[in-house]
Symmetry: C2
Protein backbone atom coordinates (compact mmCIF):
# COMPACT_ATOMS: atom_id res chain seq x y z
CA UNK A 1 0.00 0.00 0.00
CA UNK A 2 1.32 3.37 -1.03
CA UNK A 3 1.24 6.12 1.54
CA UNK A 4 1.45 9.91 1.63
CA UNK A 5 3.31 11.67 4.40
CA UNK A 6 2.05 15.15 5.24
CA UNK A 7 3.31 17.87 7.53
CA UNK A 8 1.59 20.87 9.00
CA UNK A 9 4.42 23.02 10.23
CA UNK A 10 3.46 25.56 12.88
CA UNK A 11 5.28 28.03 15.06
CA UNK A 12 4.70 25.85 18.13
CA UNK A 13 4.14 22.33 16.83
CA UNK A 14 4.96 20.25 13.83
CA UNK A 15 2.20 17.79 13.03
CA UNK A 16 2.80 14.83 10.79
CA UNK A 17 0.12 12.61 9.28
CA UNK A 18 0.51 9.48 7.22
CA UNK A 19 -2.36 8.70 4.85
CA UNK A 20 -3.13 5.84 2.54
CA UNK A 21 -4.35 6.73 -0.90
CA UNK A 22 -7.85 5.60 0.07
CA UNK A 23 -8.91 7.63 3.08
CA UNK A 24 -8.63 10.95 4.84
CA UNK A 25 -8.34 9.10 8.13
CA UNK A 26 -4.60 9.11 8.81
CA UNK A 27 -2.90 5.77 9.47
CA UNK A 28 -0.57 7.48 11.86
CA UNK A 29 -0.10 10.95 13.31
CA UNK A 30 2.60 12.56 15.38
CA UNK A 31 2.94 15.97 16.96
CA UNK A 32 6.24 17.34 18.20
CA UNK A 33 7.44 20.76 19.34
CA UNK A 34 8.73 22.74 16.39
CA UNK A 35 11.95 23.62 18.17
CA UNK A 36 11.92 20.74 20.67
CA UNK A 37 14.62 18.19 21.51
CA UNK A 38 17.33 20.84 21.05
CA UNK A 39 16.81 20.58 17.34
CA UNK A 40 16.05 23.31 14.85
CA UNK A 41 12.65 23.17 13.09
CA UNK A 42 14.35 21.87 9.96
CA UNK A 43 16.23 19.17 11.89
CA UNK A 44 12.96 18.12 13.50
CA UNK A 45 11.24 17.79 10.14
CA UNK A 46 14.08 15.72 8.68
CA UNK A 47 14.19 13.61 11.83
CA UNK A 48 10.46 12.91 11.58
CA UNK A 49 10.69 11.93 7.92
CA UNK A 50 13.53 9.55 8.70
CA UNK A 51 11.69 8.00 11.64
CA UNK A 52 8.47 7.50 9.67
CA UNK A 53 10.29 6.18 6.60
CA UNK A 54 11.83 3.37 8.64
CA UNK A 55 8.33 2.29 9.73
CA UNK A 56 6.54 2.98 6.42
CA UNK A 57 9.04 2.58 3.59
CA UNK A 58 6.47 2.65 0.76
CA UNK A 59 5.91 6.40 0.63
CA UNK A 60 4.43 7.79 -2.59
CA UNK A 61 4.75 11.46 -1.71
CA UNK A 62 5.61 14.03 0.91
CA UNK A 63 3.48 17.16 1.23
CA UNK A 64 4.12 20.09 3.54
CA UNK A 65 2.01 23.04 4.71
CA UNK A 66 4.13 25.97 5.86
CA UNK A 67 2.93 29.10 7.71
CA UNK A 68 4.39 31.81 5.55
CA UNK A 69 5.25 32.95 2.07
CA UNK A 70 6.08 29.95 -0.05
CA UNK A 71 7.47 30.00 -3.56
CA UNK A 72 5.58 26.87 -4.49
CA UNK A 73 7.10 26.64 -7.96
CA UNK A 74 10.58 26.20 -6.55
CA UNK A 75 9.67 24.81 -3.15
CA UNK A 76 11.41 27.63 -1.31
CA UNK A 77 10.07 29.10 1.93
CA UNK A 78 10.62 32.79 1.34
CA UNK A 79 9.56 33.87 4.79
CA UNK A 80 8.08 32.01 7.76
CA UNK A 81 8.87 34.25 10.75
CA UNK A 82 7.17 31.92 13.23
CA UNK A 83 9.26 28.91 12.23
CA UNK A 84 12.64 29.82 13.68
CA UNK A 85 12.74 32.92 11.51
CA UNK A 86 12.92 30.93 8.27
CA UNK A 87 13.94 33.00 5.30
CA UNK A 88 14.70 31.67 1.81
CA UNK A 89 14.88 28.02 2.94
CA UNK A 90 15.08 25.70 -0.11
CA UNK A 91 12.95 23.11 1.65
CA UNK A 92 12.12 21.08 -1.45
CA UNK A 93 15.75 20.77 -2.42
CA UNK A 94 16.84 19.81 1.11
CA UNK A 95 14.24 17.04 1.37
CA UNK A 96 14.90 15.86 -2.16
CA UNK A 97 18.64 15.59 -1.63
CA UNK A 98 18.26 13.68 1.62
CA UNK A 99 15.37 11.35 0.79
CA UNK A 100 14.91 11.34 -2.98
CA UNK A 101 11.32 12.65 -2.80
CA UNK A 102 10.28 15.89 -4.44
CA UNK A 103 7.91 17.19 -1.76
CA UNK A 104 4.97 19.52 -2.30
CA UNK A 105 5.54 22.74 -0.36
CA UNK A 106 2.52 25.02 0.01
CA UNK A 107 1.19 27.72 2.28
CA UNK A 108 -0.71 26.35 5.28
CA UNK A 109 -3.83 28.46 4.82
CA UNK A 110 -4.01 27.32 1.20
CA UNK A 111 -3.80 23.70 2.29
CA UNK A 112 -6.38 24.15 5.05
CA UNK A 113 -8.70 25.79 2.50
CA UNK A 114 -8.10 22.94 0.09
CA UNK A 115 -8.91 20.40 2.80
CA UNK A 116 -12.07 22.23 3.84
CA UNK A 117 -13.13 22.47 0.21
CA UNK A 118 -12.68 18.78 -0.58
CA UNK A 119 -13.65 17.24 2.74
CA UNK A 120 -15.04 19.88 5.09
CA UNK A 121 -17.14 23.03 5.23
CA UNK A 122 -16.77 23.82 1.52
CA UNK A 123 -18.03 20.62 -0.06
CA UNK A 124 -20.52 21.29 -2.87
CA UNK A 125 -18.95 24.69 -3.57
CA UNK A 126 -16.49 25.78 -6.24
CA UNK A 127 -16.04 29.40 -5.17
CA UNK A 128 -14.61 29.53 -1.68
CA UNK A 129 -13.15 32.21 0.53
CA UNK A 130 -11.39 30.63 3.51
CA UNK A 131 -10.30 33.05 6.21
CA UNK A 132 -8.67 32.11 9.48
CA UNK A 133 -8.75 34.61 12.32
CA UNK A 134 -6.52 33.90 15.28
CA UNK A 135 -3.09 35.37 16.09
CA UNK A 136 -3.05 36.53 12.50
CA UNK A 137 -5.57 36.78 9.71
CA UNK A 138 -4.80 34.59 6.72
CA UNK A 139 -6.66 32.75 4.09
CA UNK A 140 -7.05 31.39 0.63
CA UNK A 141 -9.42 31.58 -2.29
CA UNK A 142 -10.72 28.92 -4.65
CA UNK A 143 -12.36 30.24 -7.84
CA UNK A 144 -14.19 27.69 -9.96
CA UNK A 145 -12.09 24.92 -8.43
CA UNK A 146 -8.83 26.78 -8.96
CA UNK A 147 -6.71 27.50 -5.87
CA UNK A 148 -5.20 30.97 -6.18
CA UNK A 149 -1.54 31.16 -5.32
CA UNK A 150 -0.07 34.06 -7.25
CA UNK A 151 3.10 34.20 -9.32
CA UNK A 152 5.51 33.19 -6.58
CA UNK A 153 2.98 31.69 -4.21
CA UNK A 154 2.74 34.93 -2.23
CA UNK A 155 -0.92 35.70 -2.89
CA UNK A 156 -2.05 34.31 0.42
CA UNK A 157 -1.64 37.32 2.67
CA UNK A 158 -5.35 37.92 2.82
CA UNK A 159 -5.18 39.66 6.21
CA UNK A 160 -2.62 42.20 5.08
CA UNK A 161 -5.20 44.36 3.38
CA UNK A 162 -5.28 48.03 4.39
CA UNK A 163 -8.80 49.06 5.30
CA UNK A 164 -7.81 52.04 7.46
CA UNK A 165 -5.11 54.03 5.71
CA UNK A 166 -2.43 54.86 8.30
CA UNK A 167 -4.33 52.84 10.93
CA UNK A 168 -2.92 50.75 13.80
CA UNK A 169 0.44 49.02 13.37
CA UNK A 170 0.30 45.48 11.97
CA UNK A 171 2.55 42.54 12.86
CA UNK A 172 4.14 42.95 9.42
CA UNK A 173 5.25 46.52 10.13
CA UNK A 174 2.66 48.22 7.92
CA UNK A 175 -0.50 49.98 9.11
CA UNK A 176 -4.24 49.57 9.08
CA UNK A 177 -4.37 46.00 7.83
CA UNK A 178 -7.38 43.85 8.69
CA UNK A 179 -5.04 41.73 10.83
CA UNK A 180 -4.13 44.83 12.87
CA UNK A 181 -7.82 45.52 13.53
CA UNK A 182 -9.54 42.18 13.99
CA UNK A 183 -7.04 39.46 14.99
CA UNK A 184 -6.79 38.14 18.55
CA UNK A 185 -3.81 40.37 19.40
CA UNK A 186 -5.62 43.36 17.83
CA UNK A 187 -8.64 42.80 20.08
CA UNK A 188 -6.36 42.48 23.11
CA UNK A 189 -4.32 45.56 22.19
CA UNK A 190 -7.49 47.64 21.89
CA UNK A 191 -8.70 46.55 25.33
CA UNK A 192 -5.33 47.17 26.93
CA UNK A 193 -5.22 50.64 25.42
CA UNK A 194 -8.71 51.47 26.70
CA UNK A 195 -7.77 50.14 30.15
CA UNK A 196 -4.71 52.40 30.14
CA UNK A 197 -7.07 55.28 29.31
CA UNK A 198 -9.10 54.38 32.39
CA UNK A 199 -12.13 52.66 30.86
CA UNK A 200 -13.84 50.49 33.50
CA UNK A 201 -13.78 46.73 33.01
CA UNK A 202 -13.97 43.55 35.05
CA UNK A 203 -10.74 42.39 33.42
CA UNK A 204 -7.60 42.42 35.55
CA UNK A 205 -4.63 44.21 34.03
CA UNK A 206 -2.30 41.47 35.24
CA UNK A 207 -2.15 38.99 33.58
CA UNK A 208 -2.79 41.12 30.52
CA UNK A 209 -6.10 40.38 28.78
CA UNK A 210 -6.11 38.12 25.73
CA UNK A 211 -8.81 37.60 23.11
CA UNK A 212 -9.88 34.54 25.10
CA UNK A 213 -10.24 36.25 28.47
CA UNK A 214 -11.91 39.22 26.77
CA UNK A 215 -14.43 36.89 25.13
CA UNK A 216 -15.21 35.37 28.55
CA UNK A 217 -15.66 38.80 30.13
CA UNK A 218 -17.87 39.90 27.23
CA UNK A 219 -20.12 36.91 27.77
CA UNK A 220 -20.43 38.05 31.40
CA UNK A 221 -21.57 41.48 30.24
CA UNK A 222 -18.33 43.46 30.47
CA UNK A 223 -19.01 46.56 28.35
CA UNK A 224 -15.44 47.20 27.25
CA UNK A 225 -15.02 43.58 26.19
CA UNK A 226 -18.28 43.64 24.23
CA UNK A 227 -17.16 46.88 22.60
CA UNK A 228 -13.85 45.27 21.60
CA UNK A 229 -15.65 42.47 19.75
CA UNK A 230 -18.06 44.93 18.16
CA UNK A 231 -15.11 46.91 16.87
CA UNK A 232 -13.40 43.77 15.50
CA UNK A 233 -16.71 42.69 13.92
CA UNK A 234 -17.11 46.10 12.30
CA UNK A 235 -13.69 45.87 10.66
CA UNK A 236 -14.24 42.26 9.64
CA UNK A 237 -17.41 43.38 7.89
CA UNK A 238 -15.48 46.07 6.03
CA UNK A 239 -12.75 43.60 5.09
CA UNK A 240 -15.12 40.84 4.03
CA UNK A 241 -17.12 43.27 1.90
CA UNK A 242 -13.83 43.93 0.11
CA UNK A 243 -13.29 40.19 -0.29
CA UNK A 244 -16.81 39.72 -1.68
CA UNK A 245 -16.30 42.49 -4.24
CA UNK A 246 -12.96 41.02 -5.26
CA UNK A 247 -13.81 37.31 -5.21
CA UNK A 248 -17.61 36.85 -5.10
CA UNK A 249 -17.48 33.45 -3.37
CA UNK A 250 -20.49 31.21 -2.84
CA UNK A 251 -19.06 30.00 0.46
CA UNK A 252 -17.10 31.73 3.20
CA UNK A 253 -15.34 29.40 5.62
CA UNK A 254 -14.25 30.92 8.92
CA UNK A 255 -11.44 29.22 10.78
CA UNK A 256 -9.14 30.11 13.65
CA UNK A 257 -9.76 30.57 17.36
CA UNK A 258 -11.19 34.10 17.20
CA UNK A 259 -13.82 33.02 14.64
CA UNK A 260 -15.24 30.63 17.15
CA UNK A 261 -16.30 33.40 19.55
CA UNK A 262 -19.87 32.79 18.41
CA UNK A 263 -22.48 35.52 18.15
CA UNK A 264 -20.28 37.86 20.14
CA UNK A 265 -18.22 38.38 16.98
CA UNK A 266 -20.54 37.00 14.33
CA UNK A 267 -23.45 39.38 14.88
CA UNK A 268 -21.50 42.64 14.60
CA UNK A 269 -19.48 41.12 11.75
CA UNK A 270 -22.54 40.19 9.74
CA UNK A 271 -24.28 43.51 10.44
CA UNK A 272 -21.20 45.32 9.20
CA UNK A 273 -20.88 43.05 6.18
CA UNK A 274 -24.47 43.79 5.14
CA UNK A 275 -23.83 47.51 5.64
CA UNK A 276 -20.62 47.57 3.60
CA UNK A 277 -21.38 45.27 0.71
CA UNK A 278 -22.14 47.39 -2.36
CA UNK A 279 -25.05 45.27 -3.46
CA UNK A 280 -27.15 42.59 -1.83
CA UNK A 281 -26.40 40.47 -4.89
CA UNK A 282 -23.14 39.48 -3.19
CA UNK A 283 -25.09 37.86 -0.38
CA UNK A 284 -27.44 35.91 -2.69
CA UNK A 285 -26.71 32.22 -2.30
CA UNK A 286 -23.77 32.94 0.00
CA UNK A 287 -23.14 30.36 2.71
CA UNK A 288 -21.04 31.32 5.71
CA UNK A 289 -19.72 28.24 7.49
CA UNK A 290 -17.35 27.54 10.31
CA UNK A 291 -14.37 25.35 9.43
CA UNK A 292 -15.06 21.67 10.15
CA UNK A 293 -11.71 19.91 10.04
CA UNK A 294 -10.16 21.66 13.04
CA UNK A 295 -6.45 21.05 13.54
CA UNK A 296 -6.51 18.37 10.83
CA UNK A 297 -7.39 20.77 8.00
CA UNK A 298 -3.79 21.43 6.97
CA UNK A 299 -2.81 17.77 6.96
CA UNK A 300 -5.93 16.68 5.09
CA UNK A 301 -5.49 19.49 2.58
CA UNK A 302 -1.82 18.70 2.03
CA UNK A 303 -2.75 15.05 1.55
CA UNK A 304 -5.51 15.81 -0.96
CA UNK A 305 -3.37 18.37 -2.76
CA UNK A 306 -0.58 15.88 -3.34
CA UNK A 307 -3.09 13.24 -4.46
CA UNK A 308 -4.61 15.67 -6.97
CA UNK A 309 -1.25 16.91 -8.26
CA UNK A 310 0.90 13.77 -8.25
CA UNK B 1 -15.10 31.33 -43.48
CA UNK B 2 -16.55 31.26 -39.99
CA UNK B 3 -16.72 34.56 -38.14
CA UNK B 4 -17.13 35.74 -34.57
CA UNK B 5 -19.17 38.83 -33.79
CA UNK B 6 -18.13 40.72 -30.68
CA UNK B 7 -19.61 43.67 -28.83
CA UNK B 8 -18.09 46.06 -26.35
CA UNK B 9 -21.07 47.75 -24.78
CA UNK B 10 -20.32 51.05 -23.11
CA UNK B 11 -22.34 53.79 -21.50
CA UNK B 12 -21.77 56.08 -24.49
CA UNK B 13 -20.98 53.83 -27.43
CA UNK B 14 -21.61 50.29 -28.52
CA UNK B 15 -18.69 48.95 -30.53
CA UNK B 16 -19.06 45.87 -32.69
CA UNK B 17 -16.21 43.91 -34.24
CA UNK B 18 -16.37 40.99 -36.61
CA UNK B 19 -13.38 38.65 -36.54
CA UNK B 20 -12.38 35.63 -38.56
CA UNK B 21 -11.08 32.68 -36.60
CA UNK B 22 -7.57 33.43 -37.83
CA UNK B 23 -6.73 36.96 -36.79
CA UNK B 24 -7.21 39.63 -34.16
CA UNK B 25 -7.55 42.20 -36.93
CA UNK B 26 -11.31 42.65 -37.28
CA UNK B 27 -12.85 42.19 -40.72
CA UNK B 28 -15.35 44.87 -39.89
CA UNK B 29 -16.06 47.27 -37.05
CA UNK B 30 -18.90 49.59 -36.26
CA UNK B 31 -19.48 52.12 -33.49
CA UNK B 32 -22.88 53.54 -32.66
CA UNK B 33 -24.29 55.58 -29.80
CA UNK B 34 -25.59 53.30 -27.07
CA UNK B 35 -28.91 55.09 -26.92
CA UNK B 36 -28.82 56.59 -30.40
CA UNK B 37 -31.45 56.50 -33.19
CA UNK B 38 -34.23 56.72 -30.63
CA UNK B 39 -33.58 53.12 -29.75
CA UNK B 40 -32.86 51.62 -26.36
CA UNK B 41 -29.38 50.08 -25.84
CA UNK B 42 -30.90 46.61 -26.19
CA UNK B 43 -32.70 47.55 -29.39
CA UNK B 44 -29.47 48.94 -30.79
CA UNK B 45 -27.61 45.72 -30.01
CA UNK B 46 -30.28 43.58 -31.64
CA UNK B 47 -30.41 45.92 -34.62
CA UNK B 48 -26.64 45.67 -35.06
CA UNK B 49 -26.68 41.87 -34.88
CA UNK B 50 -29.42 41.75 -37.48
CA UNK B 51 -27.61 44.18 -39.79
CA UNK B 52 -24.30 42.33 -39.54
CA UNK B 53 -25.94 38.92 -39.95
CA UNK B 54 -27.39 39.93 -43.30
CA UNK B 55 -23.88 40.85 -44.51
CA UNK B 56 -22.03 37.97 -42.81
CA UNK B 57 -24.39 35.03 -42.42
CA UNK B 58 -21.72 32.49 -41.40
CA UNK B 59 -21.35 33.50 -37.77
CA UNK B 60 -19.83 30.91 -35.42
CA UNK B 61 -20.37 32.85 -32.20
CA UNK B 62 -21.45 36.09 -30.58
CA UNK B 63 -19.49 37.43 -27.61
CA UNK B 64 -20.36 40.49 -25.53
CA UNK B 65 -18.46 42.59 -23.00
CA UNK B 66 -20.76 44.47 -20.63
CA UNK B 67 -19.79 47.24 -18.16
CA UNK B 68 -21.30 45.90 -14.98
CA UNK B 69 -22.07 42.89 -12.88
CA UNK B 70 -22.68 39.94 -15.12
CA UNK B 71 -23.94 36.54 -14.07
CA UNK B 72 -21.86 34.80 -16.72
CA UNK B 73 -23.24 31.35 -15.95
CA UNK B 74 -26.74 32.40 -16.90
CA UNK B 75 -25.89 35.27 -19.22
CA UNK B 76 -27.83 37.78 -17.15
CA UNK B 77 -26.68 41.36 -16.70
CA UNK B 78 -27.39 41.88 -13.02
CA UNK B 79 -26.51 45.56 -12.99
CA UNK B 80 -25.06 47.90 -15.59
CA UNK B 81 -26.08 51.38 -14.41
CA UNK B 82 -24.36 53.12 -17.34
CA UNK B 83 -26.26 51.16 -19.97
CA UNK B 84 -29.71 52.66 -19.65
CA UNK B 85 -29.90 51.49 -16.05
CA UNK B 86 -29.87 47.81 -16.99
CA UNK B 87 -30.90 45.55 -14.14
CA UNK B 88 -31.44 41.80 -14.41
CA UNK B 89 -31.48 41.76 -18.21
CA UNK B 90 -31.47 38.14 -19.51
CA UNK B 91 -29.27 39.15 -22.43
CA UNK B 92 -28.22 35.64 -23.39
CA UNK B 93 -31.80 34.44 -23.54
CA UNK B 94 -32.96 37.45 -25.55
CA UNK B 95 -30.22 37.01 -28.17
CA UNK B 96 -30.70 33.26 -28.25
CA UNK B 97 -34.45 33.49 -28.80
CA UNK B 98 -34.08 36.05 -31.58
CA UNK B 99 -31.05 34.69 -33.44
CA UNK B 100 -30.44 31.13 -32.28
CA UNK B 101 -26.96 31.86 -30.97
CA UNK B 102 -26.00 31.32 -27.34
CA UNK B 103 -23.80 34.39 -26.83
CA UNK B 104 -20.97 34.70 -24.35
CA UNK B 105 -21.79 37.50 -21.89
CA UNK B 106 -18.90 38.68 -19.73
CA UNK B 107 -17.78 41.73 -17.79
CA UNK B 108 -15.96 44.27 -19.95
CA UNK B 109 -12.92 44.62 -17.66
CA UNK B 110 -12.55 40.84 -17.66
CA UNK B 111 -12.62 40.77 -21.44
CA UNK B 112 -10.16 43.68 -21.74
CA UNK B 113 -7.84 41.87 -19.33
CA UNK B 114 -8.19 38.68 -21.35
CA UNK B 115 -7.36 40.54 -24.55
CA UNK B 116 -4.33 42.24 -23.01
CA UNK B 117 -3.16 38.91 -21.64
CA UNK B 118 -3.39 37.02 -24.92
CA UNK B 119 -2.48 39.77 -27.37
CA UNK B 120 -1.31 42.88 -25.51
CA UNK B 121 0.62 44.06 -22.47
CA UNK B 122 0.38 40.75 -20.63
CA UNK B 123 1.83 38.34 -23.15
CA UNK B 124 4.40 36.00 -21.57
CA UNK B 125 2.67 36.26 -18.19
CA UNK B 126 0.26 33.91 -16.43
CA UNK B 127 -0.42 36.00 -13.33
CA UNK B 128 -1.98 39.29 -14.30
CA UNK B 129 -3.65 42.12 -12.47
CA UNK B 130 -5.43 44.40 -14.94
CA UNK B 131 -6.74 47.64 -13.47
CA UNK B 132 -8.44 50.38 -15.41
CA UNK B 133 -8.59 53.85 -13.87
CA UNK B 134 -10.90 56.34 -15.51
CA UNK B 135 -14.41 57.39 -14.49
CA UNK B 136 -14.38 54.31 -12.31
CA UNK B 137 -11.77 51.86 -11.12
CA UNK B 138 -12.32 48.32 -12.34
CA UNK B 139 -10.28 45.34 -13.26
CA UNK B 140 -9.70 41.65 -13.49
CA UNK B 141 -7.23 39.03 -12.34
CA UNK B 142 -5.71 36.07 -14.12
CA UNK B 143 -4.04 33.50 -11.85
CA UNK B 144 -2.01 30.82 -13.57
CA UNK B 145 -4.00 31.33 -16.74
CA UNK B 146 -7.34 31.23 -14.94
CA UNK B 147 -9.60 34.27 -15.25
CA UNK B 148 -11.28 34.95 -11.91
CA UNK B 149 -14.97 35.63 -12.11
CA UNK B 150 -16.49 34.57 -8.83
CA UNK B 151 -19.60 32.50 -8.20
CA UNK B 152 -22.06 34.71 -10.08
CA UNK B 153 -19.52 36.63 -12.11
CA UNK B 154 -19.52 39.51 -9.63
CA UNK B 155 -15.89 39.29 -8.54
CA UNK B 156 -14.81 42.08 -10.82
CA UNK B 157 -15.47 45.09 -8.65
CA UNK B 158 -11.79 45.62 -7.99
CA UNK B 159 -12.17 49.35 -7.35
CA UNK B 160 -14.82 48.90 -4.70
CA UNK B 161 -12.29 48.04 -2.03
CA UNK B 162 -12.43 50.11 1.16
CA UNK B 163 -9.00 51.48 2.01
CA UNK B 164 -10.20 54.37 4.16
CA UNK B 165 -12.92 53.16 6.49
CA UNK B 166 -15.74 55.73 6.39
CA UNK B 167 -13.84 57.74 3.75
CA UNK B 168 -15.26 59.78 0.86
CA UNK B 169 -18.51 58.69 -0.79
CA UNK B 170 -18.14 56.32 -3.73
CA UNK B 171 -20.29 56.18 -6.88
CA UNK B 172 -21.75 52.93 -5.51
CA UNK B 173 -23.05 54.64 -2.37
CA UNK B 174 -20.49 53.14 0.01
CA UNK B 175 -17.47 54.96 1.43
CA UNK B 176 -13.69 55.01 1.20
CA UNK B 177 -13.36 52.75 -1.84
CA UNK B 178 -10.30 53.09 -4.03
CA UNK B 179 -12.59 54.37 -6.77
CA UNK B 180 -13.73 57.20 -4.48
CA UNK B 181 -10.12 58.22 -3.88
CA UNK B 182 -8.25 57.75 -7.14
CA UNK B 183 -10.63 57.77 -10.12
CA UNK B 184 -10.95 60.75 -12.44
CA UNK B 185 -14.06 62.07 -10.69
CA UNK B 186 -12.35 61.57 -7.30
CA UNK B 187 -9.40 63.70 -8.41
CA UNK B 188 -11.75 66.39 -9.70
CA UNK B 189 -13.91 66.31 -6.55
CA UNK B 190 -10.83 66.81 -4.37
CA UNK B 191 -9.70 69.83 -6.40
CA UNK B 192 -13.16 71.38 -6.40
CA UNK B 193 -13.38 70.95 -2.65
CA UNK B 194 -9.96 72.60 -2.13
CA UNK B 195 -10.96 75.45 -4.45
CA UNK B 196 -14.11 75.97 -2.40
CA UNK B 197 -11.89 76.15 0.67
CA UNK B 198 -9.93 78.91 -1.04
CA UNK B 199 -6.75 77.08 -2.12
CA UNK B 200 -5.06 79.04 -4.90
CA UNK B 201 -4.91 77.47 -8.35
CA UNK B 202 -4.63 78.46 -11.99
CA UNK B 203 -7.75 76.41 -12.72
CA UNK B 204 -10.98 78.29 -13.43
CA UNK B 205 -13.97 77.23 -11.39
CA UNK B 206 -16.21 77.42 -14.46
CA UNK B 207 -16.17 75.11 -16.32
CA UNK B 208 -15.53 72.84 -13.36
CA UNK B 209 -12.11 71.14 -13.42
CA UNK B 210 -11.89 67.58 -14.65
CA UNK B 211 -9.08 65.04 -14.26
CA UNK B 212 -7.91 66.09 -17.74
CA UNK B 213 -7.77 69.83 -17.11
CA UNK B 214 -6.20 69.18 -13.71
CA UNK B 215 -3.50 67.04 -15.35
CA UNK B 216 -2.76 69.87 -17.79
CA UNK B 217 -2.55 72.43 -14.98
CA UNK B 218 -0.28 70.11 -12.98
CA UNK B 219 2.09 69.85 -15.92
CA UNK B 220 2.21 73.66 -15.91
CA UNK B 221 3.21 73.62 -12.25
CA UNK B 222 -0.12 74.29 -10.54
CA UNK B 223 0.49 73.23 -6.92
CA UNK B 224 -3.08 72.20 -6.11
CA UNK B 225 -3.28 70.08 -9.26
CA UNK B 226 0.04 68.40 -8.50
CA UNK B 227 -1.17 67.74 -4.97
CA UNK B 228 -4.36 66.14 -6.32
CA UNK B 229 -2.36 63.63 -8.37
CA UNK B 230 -0.01 62.98 -5.45
CA UNK B 231 -3.01 62.19 -3.29
CA UNK B 232 -4.50 59.86 -5.91
CA UNK B 233 -1.10 58.20 -6.35
CA UNK B 234 -0.82 57.68 -2.61
CA UNK B 235 -4.15 55.87 -2.46
CA UNK B 236 -3.40 53.86 -5.58
CA UNK B 237 -0.21 52.68 -3.86
CA UNK B 238 -2.20 51.60 -0.81
CA UNK B 239 -4.77 49.85 -2.99
CA UNK B 240 -2.24 48.13 -5.22
CA UNK B 241 -0.28 46.92 -2.17
CA UNK B 242 -3.53 45.24 -1.13
CA UNK B 243 -3.87 43.72 -4.60
CA UNK B 244 -0.30 42.44 -4.51
CA UNK B 245 -0.83 40.80 -1.11
CA UNK B 246 -4.06 39.21 -2.33
CA UNK B 247 -3.04 38.20 -5.86
CA UNK B 248 0.79 38.35 -6.20
CA UNK B 249 0.76 39.00 -9.96
CA UNK B 250 3.86 38.97 -12.14
CA UNK B 251 2.36 41.69 -14.33
CA UNK B 252 0.23 44.71 -13.59
CA UNK B 253 -1.51 46.24 -16.60
CA UNK B 254 -2.78 49.78 -16.17
CA UNK B 255 -5.57 50.91 -18.45
CA UNK B 256 -8.03 53.81 -18.56
CA UNK B 257 -7.54 57.49 -19.20
CA UNK B 258 -6.30 58.46 -15.73
CA UNK B 259 -3.53 55.83 -15.89
CA UNK B 260 -2.09 57.60 -18.89
CA UNK B 261 -1.27 60.76 -16.94
CA UNK B 262 2.37 59.66 -17.05
CA UNK B 263 4.86 60.38 -14.27
CA UNK B 264 2.47 62.87 -12.71
CA UNK B 265 0.52 59.91 -11.34
CA UNK B 266 2.98 57.07 -11.78
CA UNK B 267 5.74 58.46 -9.57
CA UNK B 268 3.65 59.07 -6.44
CA UNK B 269 1.82 55.79 -7.12
CA UNK B 270 5.00 53.75 -7.29
CA UNK B 271 6.54 55.50 -4.26
CA UNK B 272 3.42 54.71 -2.28
CA UNK B 273 3.32 51.12 -3.55
CA UNK B 274 6.91 50.54 -2.40
CA UNK B 275 6.08 52.08 0.96
CA UNK B 276 2.93 50.00 1.53
CA UNK B 277 3.92 46.60 0.23
CA UNK B 278 4.69 44.34 3.19
CA UNK B 279 7.74 42.79 1.61
CA UNK B 280 9.91 43.67 -1.36
CA UNK B 281 9.36 40.08 -2.49
CA UNK B 282 6.09 41.23 -4.05
CA UNK B 283 8.03 43.53 -6.37
CA UNK B 284 10.55 40.87 -7.46
CA UNK B 285 10.00 40.09 -11.12
CA UNK B 286 6.94 42.36 -11.22
CA UNK B 287 6.33 44.15 -14.51
CA UNK B 288 4.08 47.20 -14.59
CA UNK B 289 2.86 47.90 -18.11
CA UNK B 290 0.41 50.25 -19.69
CA UNK B 291 -2.40 48.61 -21.64
CA UNK B 292 -1.56 48.24 -25.33
CA UNK B 293 -4.81 47.43 -27.09
CA UNK B 294 -6.55 50.74 -26.38
CA UNK B 295 -10.24 50.83 -27.25
CA UNK B 296 -9.95 47.46 -28.99
CA UNK B 297 -9.11 45.53 -25.81
CA UNK B 298 -12.68 44.55 -25.01
CA UNK B 299 -13.47 43.41 -28.54
CA UNK B 300 -10.24 41.45 -28.88
CA UNK B 301 -10.72 39.89 -25.45
CA UNK B 302 -14.32 38.95 -26.18
CA UNK B 303 -13.18 37.43 -29.49
CA UNK B 304 -10.37 35.41 -27.91
CA UNK B 305 -12.58 34.36 -24.98
CA UNK B 306 -15.22 32.92 -27.30
CA UNK B 307 -12.53 31.17 -29.38
CA UNK B 308 -11.05 29.59 -26.24
CA UNK B 309 -14.41 28.60 -24.80
CA UNK B 310 -16.40 27.53 -27.85
Amino acid sequence: MKTILTFDIGGTNIRAGLFSEESIKPLYTKKIKTSGQNRSPLENILFLIEEILTQYPTLAAISMAVPGSVDNKNGVVIKAPNVGGWKNIPLRQIVQEKFGFVPFIENDASMAAYGEWKHGAGRNHSYILYITISTGVGGAVIDNGHLLTGFRGLGTEKGHMTIVDDGPLCSCGKRGHLEALASGPAIAAYVRQKMAEGFPTMLPSDPAPTAETIAKAAKQGDALSIDAFHRAGHYLGVGFANYLHLFNPSCIILGGGVSFSGDLLYQPFYESLKEHVMSEEYLVGLEINYAQLGDEAGLIGAYQWSLDNL
